[in-house]
Symmetry: C2
Subunit: 224 residues, 2 copies
Protein backbone atom coordinates (compact mmCIF):
# COMPACT_ATOMS: atom_id res chain seq x y z
CA UNK A 1 0.00 0.00 0.00
CA UNK A 2 2.86 2.31 0.83
CA UNK A 3 4.47 1.51 -2.50
CA UNK A 4 1.14 1.92 -4.27
CA UNK A 5 0.73 5.37 -2.79
CA UNK A 6 4.27 6.28 -3.77
CA UNK A 7 3.68 5.14 -7.32
CA UNK A 8 0.46 7.09 -7.48
CA UNK A 9 2.25 10.16 -6.17
CA UNK A 10 4.98 9.94 -8.78
CA UNK A 11 2.40 10.07 -11.59
CA UNK A 12 -0.50 11.54 -9.71
CA UNK A 13 -1.52 13.93 -12.48
CA UNK A 14 -3.11 11.75 -15.15
CA UNK A 15 -1.65 11.98 -18.62
CA UNK A 16 -3.43 14.27 -21.05
CA UNK A 17 -2.68 15.82 -24.41
CA UNK A 18 -2.11 19.17 -22.71
CA UNK A 19 0.40 17.65 -20.30
CA UNK A 20 2.17 15.76 -23.09
CA UNK A 21 2.50 18.91 -25.19
CA UNK A 22 3.73 21.02 -22.31
CA UNK A 23 6.35 18.39 -21.47
CA UNK A 24 7.39 18.29 -25.13
CA UNK A 25 7.98 22.05 -25.20
CA UNK A 26 9.95 21.88 -21.96
CA UNK A 27 12.08 19.01 -23.24
CA UNK A 28 12.85 20.85 -26.49
CA UNK A 29 13.74 23.99 -24.53
CA UNK A 30 15.98 22.05 -22.19
CA UNK A 31 17.73 19.58 -24.52
CA UNK A 32 17.08 20.76 -28.05
CA UNK A 33 14.58 19.59 -30.60
CA UNK A 34 16.69 16.60 -31.66
CA UNK A 35 16.20 15.18 -28.16
CA UNK A 36 12.44 15.20 -28.52
CA UNK A 37 11.71 11.52 -29.14
CA UNK A 38 8.65 9.57 -28.06
CA UNK A 39 10.79 7.48 -25.74
CA UNK A 40 12.57 10.41 -24.06
CA UNK A 41 9.36 12.38 -23.78
CA UNK A 42 7.64 9.44 -22.12
CA UNK A 43 10.55 9.05 -19.73
CA UNK A 44 10.20 12.72 -18.81
CA UNK A 45 6.57 12.01 -17.92
CA UNK A 46 7.43 8.86 -15.96
CA UNK A 47 5.66 6.59 -18.40
CA UNK A 48 6.40 4.24 -21.31
CA UNK A 49 6.58 5.53 -24.87
CA UNK A 50 3.55 3.53 -25.95
CA UNK A 51 1.34 5.24 -23.38
CA UNK A 52 1.66 8.50 -25.28
CA UNK A 53 -0.39 7.03 -28.11
CA UNK A 54 -3.44 7.10 -25.87
CA UNK A 55 -3.33 10.89 -26.03
CA UNK A 56 -1.74 11.77 -29.36
CA UNK A 57 -2.10 10.20 -32.76
CA UNK A 58 1.58 10.32 -33.72
CA UNK A 59 4.76 12.28 -33.32
CA UNK A 60 3.57 14.58 -36.10
CA UNK A 61 0.51 15.22 -33.94
CA UNK A 62 2.82 16.22 -31.09
CA UNK A 63 4.78 18.60 -33.32
CA UNK A 64 1.53 20.16 -34.54
CA UNK A 65 0.47 20.63 -30.93
CA UNK A 66 3.83 22.01 -29.88
CA UNK A 67 3.62 24.65 -32.60
CA UNK A 68 0.13 25.50 -31.39
CA UNK A 69 1.41 25.97 -27.84
CA UNK A 70 4.29 28.19 -28.97
CA UNK A 71 2.23 30.40 -31.27
CA UNK A 72 -0.36 30.67 -28.52
CA UNK A 73 2.28 32.32 -26.32
CA UNK A 74 2.41 35.36 -28.58
CA UNK A 75 0.61 38.24 -26.93
CA UNK A 76 -1.65 40.32 -29.14
CA UNK A 77 -2.35 43.74 -27.63
CA UNK A 78 -5.92 45.05 -27.36
CA UNK A 79 -6.89 47.18 -30.35
CA UNK A 80 -6.65 50.50 -28.55
CA UNK A 81 -3.59 52.10 -30.10
CA UNK A 82 -2.83 52.84 -33.75
CA UNK A 83 -1.94 50.05 -36.19
CA UNK A 84 1.78 50.76 -36.15
CA UNK A 85 2.09 50.53 -32.37
CA UNK A 86 -0.12 47.44 -32.19
CA UNK A 87 1.75 45.67 -34.96
CA UNK A 88 5.09 46.57 -33.47
CA UNK A 89 4.10 45.21 -30.06
CA UNK A 90 2.74 42.04 -31.62
CA UNK A 91 5.89 41.34 -33.61
CA UNK A 92 8.12 42.12 -30.66
CA UNK A 93 6.12 39.60 -28.66
CA UNK A 94 6.47 37.04 -31.47
CA UNK A 95 10.19 37.60 -31.43
CA UNK A 96 10.38 37.12 -27.66
CA UNK A 97 8.56 33.84 -27.97
CA UNK A 98 10.87 32.57 -30.71
CA UNK A 99 13.95 33.65 -28.75
CA UNK A 100 12.57 31.63 -25.83
CA UNK A 101 12.09 28.59 -28.10
CA UNK A 102 14.96 28.77 -30.59
CA UNK A 103 14.02 25.38 -32.11
CA UNK A 104 10.50 26.60 -32.95
CA UNK A 105 11.09 28.22 -36.37
CA UNK A 106 12.35 24.96 -37.80
CA UNK A 107 9.40 23.01 -36.44
CA UNK A 108 6.95 25.65 -37.63
CA UNK A 109 8.50 25.48 -41.08
CA UNK A 110 8.09 21.72 -41.15
CA UNK A 111 4.31 21.78 -40.52
CA UNK A 112 2.05 21.40 -43.54
CA UNK A 113 -1.18 22.61 -41.94
CA UNK A 114 -1.54 25.78 -39.89
CA UNK A 115 -2.73 25.18 -36.33
CA UNK A 116 -5.73 26.88 -34.68
CA UNK A 117 -3.44 29.26 -32.79
CA UNK A 118 -1.72 30.14 -36.06
CA UNK A 119 -5.06 30.98 -37.63
CA UNK A 120 -5.92 33.10 -34.62
CA UNK A 121 -2.58 34.87 -34.74
CA UNK A 122 -2.88 35.73 -38.41
CA UNK A 123 -6.43 36.88 -37.89
CA UNK A 124 -5.14 39.30 -35.28
CA UNK A 125 -2.34 40.66 -37.45
CA UNK A 126 -4.65 41.06 -40.42
CA UNK A 127 -7.20 42.71 -38.17
CA UNK A 128 -4.67 45.25 -36.97
CA UNK A 129 -3.83 46.19 -40.55
CA UNK A 130 -7.44 46.36 -41.76
CA UNK A 131 -8.51 48.44 -38.78
CA UNK A 132 -5.51 50.67 -39.50
CA UNK A 133 -6.86 51.60 -42.89
CA UNK A 134 -5.01 49.15 -45.13
CA UNK A 135 -6.98 47.82 -48.08
CA UNK A 136 -7.42 44.07 -48.40
CA UNK A 137 -4.81 43.93 -51.15
CA UNK A 138 -2.38 46.12 -49.27
CA UNK A 139 -2.87 44.01 -46.14
CA UNK A 140 -1.99 40.96 -48.19
CA UNK A 141 1.15 42.65 -49.47
CA UNK A 142 2.05 43.71 -45.96
CA UNK A 143 1.92 40.12 -44.73
CA UNK A 144 4.39 39.14 -47.42
CA UNK A 145 6.68 42.04 -46.58
CA UNK A 146 6.68 41.11 -42.91
CA UNK A 147 7.45 37.63 -44.21
CA UNK A 148 9.39 35.53 -41.80
CA UNK A 149 9.10 38.32 -39.26
CA UNK A 150 5.47 37.29 -38.79
CA UNK A 151 6.81 33.77 -38.51
CA UNK A 152 7.79 32.65 -41.94
CA UNK A 153 4.89 30.60 -43.13
CA UNK A 154 2.60 33.08 -44.86
CA UNK A 155 2.98 31.12 -48.04
CA UNK A 156 1.70 27.81 -46.74
CA UNK A 157 -1.15 29.43 -44.90
CA UNK A 158 -2.59 30.94 -48.03
CA UNK A 159 -1.92 27.93 -50.18
CA UNK A 160 -4.22 26.22 -47.73
CA UNK A 161 -6.82 28.95 -47.87
CA UNK A 162 -7.07 28.48 -51.60
CA UNK A 163 -7.82 24.82 -51.17
CA UNK A 164 -10.53 25.71 -48.70
CA UNK A 165 -12.31 28.08 -51.05
CA UNK A 166 -11.92 25.68 -53.96
CA UNK A 167 -13.39 22.66 -52.19
CA UNK A 168 -16.82 21.39 -53.29
CA UNK A 169 -18.88 20.96 -50.11
CA UNK A 170 -16.54 23.24 -48.20
CA UNK A 171 -19.02 26.11 -48.23
CA UNK A 172 -20.49 25.27 -44.84
CA UNK A 173 -17.11 24.91 -43.18
CA UNK A 174 -16.05 28.11 -44.84
CA UNK A 175 -19.03 30.01 -43.47
CA UNK A 176 -18.18 28.75 -40.01
CA UNK A 177 -14.59 29.85 -40.52
CA UNK A 178 -15.76 33.27 -41.69
CA UNK A 179 -17.56 33.69 -38.38
CA UNK A 180 -14.46 33.08 -36.33
CA UNK A 181 -11.94 34.66 -38.69
CA UNK A 182 -13.72 37.42 -40.60
CA UNK A 183 -10.58 39.33 -41.58
CA UNK A 184 -8.77 36.28 -42.80
CA UNK A 185 -11.74 35.05 -44.77
CA UNK A 186 -12.09 38.42 -46.43
CA UNK A 187 -8.49 38.30 -47.55
CA UNK A 188 -8.54 34.66 -48.59
CA UNK A 189 -11.54 35.35 -50.79
CA UNK A 190 -9.93 38.38 -52.41
CA UNK A 191 -6.67 36.53 -53.06
CA UNK A 192 -8.46 33.51 -54.52
CA UNK A 193 -10.57 35.55 -56.89
CA UNK A 194 -7.62 37.51 -58.16
CA UNK A 195 -5.28 35.24 -60.06
CA UNK A 196 -6.11 32.90 -62.91
CA UNK A 197 -5.28 29.83 -60.86
CA UNK A 198 -6.90 31.28 -57.76
CA UNK A 199 -3.65 31.72 -55.84
CA UNK A 200 -1.49 34.69 -55.02
CA UNK A 201 1.48 35.44 -57.22
CA UNK A 202 4.38 34.55 -54.95
CA UNK A 203 6.98 35.94 -57.32
CA UNK A 204 5.24 39.30 -57.50
CA UNK A 205 4.82 39.37 -53.72
CA UNK A 206 8.46 38.60 -53.18
CA UNK A 207 9.48 41.43 -55.48
CA UNK A 208 7.08 43.83 -53.81
CA UNK A 209 8.56 43.00 -50.42
CA UNK A 210 12.10 43.16 -51.66
CA UNK A 211 11.60 46.54 -53.32
CA UNK A 212 9.98 47.99 -50.22
CA UNK A 213 13.01 46.92 -48.23
CA UNK A 214 15.49 48.16 -50.83
CA UNK A 215 13.75 51.53 -50.96
CA UNK A 216 13.86 51.71 -47.18
CA UNK A 217 17.58 50.97 -47.22
CA UNK A 218 18.16 53.59 -49.88
CA UNK A 219 16.56 56.23 -47.68
CA UNK A 220 18.77 55.28 -44.75
CA UNK A 221 21.90 54.75 -46.81
CA UNK A 222 23.77 57.81 -45.64
CA UNK A 223 22.23 57.97 -42.16
CA UNK A 224 23.85 56.45 -39.07
Amino acid sequence: MATQAAARTRSRTPLSKQRVLRAAVELADKSGIESLSMRKLAQELGVEAMSLYNHVRSKEDILDGVVDVVIGEIAVPPKTSDWKTSLRQTLMSARMVLVRHPWAPRVIESRTNPSPATFQYFESVIGILRAGGFSVDMTHHALHVLGSRVLGFTQELFKDSDELTAGPAAAAMFAQLADKFPYMTEMAMAVSHEGALGGCDDDAEFEFALDLILDGLENQRVAD
Copy 2:
Protein backbone atom coordinates in the same frame (compact mmCIF):
# COMPACT_ATOMS: atom_id res chain seq x y z
CA MET B 1 33.74 -11.34 -67.37
CA ALA B 2 30.50 -10.21 -68.94
CA THR B 3 28.97 -9.87 -65.51
CA GLN B 4 32.05 -8.12 -64.21
CA ALA B 5 31.81 -5.60 -67.03
CA ALA B 6 28.12 -5.08 -66.33
CA ALA B 7 28.80 -4.52 -62.64
CA ARG B 8 31.55 -2.11 -63.44
CA THR B 9 29.24 -0.24 -65.81
CA ARG B 10 26.54 0.13 -63.20
CA SER B 11 28.89 1.89 -60.82
CA ARG B 12 31.57 2.93 -63.26
CA THR B 13 31.98 6.44 -61.80
CA PRO B 14 33.87 5.95 -58.54
CA LEU B 15 32.23 7.33 -55.43
CA SER B 16 33.41 10.74 -54.30
CA LYS B 17 32.21 13.38 -51.88
CA GLN B 18 31.06 15.49 -54.82
CA ARG B 19 29.02 12.64 -56.23
CA VAL B 20 27.54 11.79 -52.83
CA LEU B 21 26.49 15.40 -52.25
CA ARG B 22 24.98 15.80 -55.69
CA ALA B 23 23.00 12.59 -55.22
CA ALA B 24 21.83 13.84 -51.82
CA VAL B 25 20.50 17.09 -53.31
CA GLU B 26 18.76 15.16 -56.08
CA LEU B 27 17.19 12.75 -53.62
CA ALA B 28 15.92 15.59 -51.42
CA ASP B 29 14.51 17.37 -54.48
CA LYS B 30 12.79 14.21 -55.66
CA SER B 31 11.49 12.66 -52.45
CA GLY B 32 11.73 15.31 -49.77
CA ILE B 33 14.32 15.86 -47.07
CA GLU B 34 12.80 13.24 -44.76
CA SER B 35 13.72 10.60 -47.37
CA LEU B 36 17.37 11.52 -47.19
CA SER B 37 18.79 8.68 -45.12
CA MET B 38 22.22 7.11 -45.42
CA ARG B 39 20.64 3.86 -46.54
CA LYS B 40 18.41 5.36 -49.21
CA LEU B 41 21.15 7.65 -50.44
CA ALA B 42 23.51 4.70 -50.76
CA GLN B 43 20.84 2.75 -52.64
CA GLU B 44 20.48 5.68 -55.05
CA LEU B 45 24.21 5.40 -55.71
CA GLY B 46 24.11 1.61 -56.10
CA VAL B 47 26.19 1.03 -53.01
CA GLU B 48 25.82 0.00 -49.37
CA ALA B 49 25.22 2.63 -46.67
CA MET B 50 28.54 1.93 -45.00
CA SER B 51 30.46 2.80 -48.15
CA LEU B 52 29.41 6.41 -47.80
CA TYR B 53 31.57 6.73 -44.72
CA ASN B 54 34.64 6.47 -46.91
CA HIS B 55 33.78 9.86 -48.37
CA VAL B 56 31.89 11.71 -45.66
CA ARG B 57 32.40 11.82 -41.92
CA SER B 58 28.75 11.60 -40.94
CA LYS B 59 25.25 12.52 -41.98
CA GLU B 60 25.83 15.96 -40.50
CA ASP B 61 28.79 16.24 -42.87
CA ILE B 62 26.46 15.45 -45.77
CA LEU B 63 23.97 18.10 -44.65
CA ASP B 64 26.79 20.65 -44.37
CA GLY B 65 27.89 19.74 -47.88
CA VAL B 66 24.36 19.85 -49.25
CA VAL B 67 23.93 23.39 -47.92
CA ASP B 68 27.22 24.33 -49.52
CA VAL B 69 26.04 22.99 -52.88
CA VAL B 70 22.72 24.84 -52.67
CA ILE B 71 24.19 28.19 -51.62
CA GLY B 72 26.81 27.76 -54.33
CA GLU B 73 24.00 27.78 -56.90
CA ILE B 74 23.17 31.41 -56.11
CA ALA B 75 24.43 33.62 -58.91
CA VAL B 76 26.13 36.83 -57.85
CA PRO B 77 26.21 39.37 -60.70
CA PRO B 78 29.47 41.11 -61.66
CA LYS B 79 29.87 44.45 -59.90
CA THR B 80 29.02 46.59 -62.93
CA SER B 81 25.65 48.04 -62.04
CA ASP B 82 24.57 50.10 -59.03
CA TRP B 83 24.16 48.48 -55.63
CA LYS B 84 20.37 48.33 -55.78
CA THR B 85 20.28 46.48 -59.09
CA SER B 86 23.07 44.12 -58.04
CA LEU B 87 21.46 43.34 -54.71
CA ARG B 88 18.08 42.85 -56.29
CA GLN B 89 19.48 40.40 -58.84
CA THR B 90 21.37 38.53 -56.17
CA LEU B 91 18.34 38.12 -53.91
CA MET B 92 16.12 37.13 -56.83
CA SER B 93 18.68 34.46 -57.67
CA ALA B 94 18.72 33.31 -54.04
CA ARG B 95 14.96 33.04 -54.13
CA MET B 96 15.03 30.99 -57.33
CA VAL B 97 17.47 28.58 -55.76
CA LEU B 98 15.34 28.15 -52.64
CA VAL B 99 12.20 27.65 -54.73
CA ARG B 100 14.08 24.92 -56.59
CA HIS B 101 15.04 23.29 -53.27
CA PRO B 102 12.09 23.92 -50.93
CA TRP B 103 13.61 21.75 -48.21
CA ALA B 104 16.78 23.88 -48.10
CA PRO B 105 15.74 26.65 -45.66
CA ARG B 106 15.07 24.11 -42.94
CA VAL B 107 18.42 22.40 -43.48
CA ILE B 108 20.24 25.73 -43.64
CA GLU B 109 18.61 26.72 -40.37
CA SER B 110 19.77 23.51 -38.73
CA ARG B 111 23.48 24.05 -39.50
CA THR B 112 25.62 25.43 -36.72
CA ASN B 113 28.62 26.48 -38.81
CA PRO B 114 28.42 28.51 -42.02
CA SER B 115 29.86 26.70 -45.04
CA PRO B 116 32.53 28.10 -47.38
CA ALA B 117 29.90 28.95 -49.99
CA THR B 118 27.90 30.76 -47.33
CA PHE B 119 30.93 32.83 -46.42
CA GLN B 120 31.50 33.61 -50.07
CA TYR B 121 27.87 34.56 -50.55
CA PHE B 122 27.83 36.94 -47.60
CA GLU B 123 31.10 38.42 -48.71
CA SER B 124 29.47 39.22 -52.06
CA VAL B 125 26.36 40.77 -50.54
CA ILE B 126 28.40 42.84 -48.11
CA GLY B 127 30.69 43.86 -50.97
CA ILE B 128 27.74 45.11 -53.01
CA LEU B 129 26.57 47.28 -50.12
CA ARG B 130 30.02 48.64 -49.26
CA ALA B 131 30.78 49.46 -52.88
CA GLY B 132 27.37 51.13 -53.03
CA GLY B 133 28.36 53.66 -50.40
CA PHE B 134 26.94 52.04 -47.27
CA SER B 135 29.00 52.52 -44.12
CA VAL B 136 30.16 49.43 -42.27
CA ASP B 137 27.50 49.94 -39.61
CA MET B 138 24.77 50.59 -42.12
CA THR B 139 25.82 47.51 -44.08
CA HIS B 140 25.49 45.51 -40.91
CA HIS B 141 22.02 46.91 -40.31
CA ALA B 142 21.08 46.19 -43.91
CA LEU B 143 21.98 42.52 -43.52
CA HIS B 144 19.64 42.28 -40.56
CA VAL B 145 16.84 44.02 -42.44
CA LEU B 146 17.19 41.67 -45.37
CA GLY B 147 17.10 39.01 -42.70
CA SER B 148 15.65 35.75 -43.91
CA ARG B 149 15.52 37.21 -47.38
CA VAL B 150 19.29 36.87 -47.51
CA LEU B 151 18.71 33.35 -46.22
CA GLY B 152 17.81 33.60 -42.62
CA PHE B 153 21.02 32.89 -40.83
CA THR B 154 22.69 36.24 -40.37
CA GLN B 155 22.59 35.77 -36.65
CA GLU B 156 24.53 32.53 -36.51
CA LEU B 157 27.09 33.76 -38.98
CA PHE B 158 28.09 36.69 -36.85
CA LYS B 159 27.93 34.85 -33.59
CA ASP B 160 30.62 32.72 -35.15
CA SER B 161 32.64 35.73 -36.29
CA ASP B 162 32.75 36.93 -32.73
CA GLU B 163 34.25 33.66 -31.59
CA LEU B 164 36.83 33.94 -34.33
CA THR B 165 37.98 37.39 -33.29
CA ALA B 166 37.92 36.41 -29.62
CA GLY B 167 40.04 33.27 -30.08
CA PRO B 168 43.59 33.25 -28.65
CA ALA B 169 45.85 31.96 -31.44
CA ALA B 170 43.22 32.74 -34.05
CA ALA B 171 45.10 35.77 -35.34
CA ALA B 172 46.85 33.89 -38.13
CA MET B 173 43.69 32.19 -39.31
CA PHE B 174 41.93 35.50 -39.14
CA ALA B 175 44.53 37.20 -41.31
CA GLN B 176 44.11 34.46 -43.88
CA LEU B 177 40.35 34.94 -43.74
CA ALA B 178 40.76 38.67 -44.16
CA ASP B 179 42.58 38.03 -47.41
CA LYS B 180 39.76 36.02 -48.89
CA PHE B 181 36.87 37.92 -47.30
CA PRO B 182 37.98 41.52 -46.80
CA TYR B 183 34.47 42.99 -46.58
CA MET B 184 33.26 40.43 -44.10
CA THR B 185 36.33 40.79 -41.95
CA GLU B 186 35.93 44.54 -41.89
CA MET B 187 32.39 44.20 -40.64
CA ALA B 188 33.11 41.43 -38.17
CA MET B 189 35.82 43.57 -36.61
CA ALA B 190 33.55 46.60 -36.35
CA VAL B 191 30.73 44.58 -34.83
CA SER B 192 33.01 42.90 -32.32
CA HIS B 193 34.56 46.11 -31.12
CA GLU B 194 31.23 47.81 -30.68
CA GLY B 195 29.26 46.13 -27.91
CA ALA B 196 30.36 45.47 -24.36
CA LEU B 197 30.33 41.71 -24.87
CA GLY B 198 31.79 41.98 -28.34
CA GLY B 199 28.63 40.94 -30.14
CA CYS B 200 25.95 42.76 -32.05
CA ASP B 201 22.79 43.75 -30.25
CA ASP B 202 20.23 41.42 -31.81
CA ASP B 203 17.31 43.12 -30.14
CA ALA B 204 18.32 46.51 -31.47
CA GLU B 205 18.88 45.09 -34.93
CA PHE B 206 15.49 43.42 -34.94
CA GLU B 207 13.83 46.69 -34.01
CA PHE B 208 15.78 48.59 -36.65
CA ALA B 209 14.65 46.14 -39.30
CA LEU B 210 11.08 46.09 -38.07
CA ASP B 211 10.82 49.88 -38.04
CA LEU B 212 12.27 50.20 -41.52
CA ILE B 213 9.60 47.80 -42.74
CA LEU B 214 6.80 49.48 -40.79
CA ASP B 215 7.83 52.88 -42.18
CA GLY B 216 7.85 51.44 -45.67
CA LEU B 217 4.37 50.04 -45.15
CA GLU B 218 3.16 53.36 -43.81
CA ASN B 219 4.30 55.08 -46.98
CA GLN B 220 2.44 52.57 -49.14
CA ARG B 221 -0.62 52.35 -46.93
CA VAL B 222 -3.02 54.20 -49.20
CA ALA B 223 -1.37 53.22 -52.49
CA ASP B 224 -2.46 50.21 -54.54
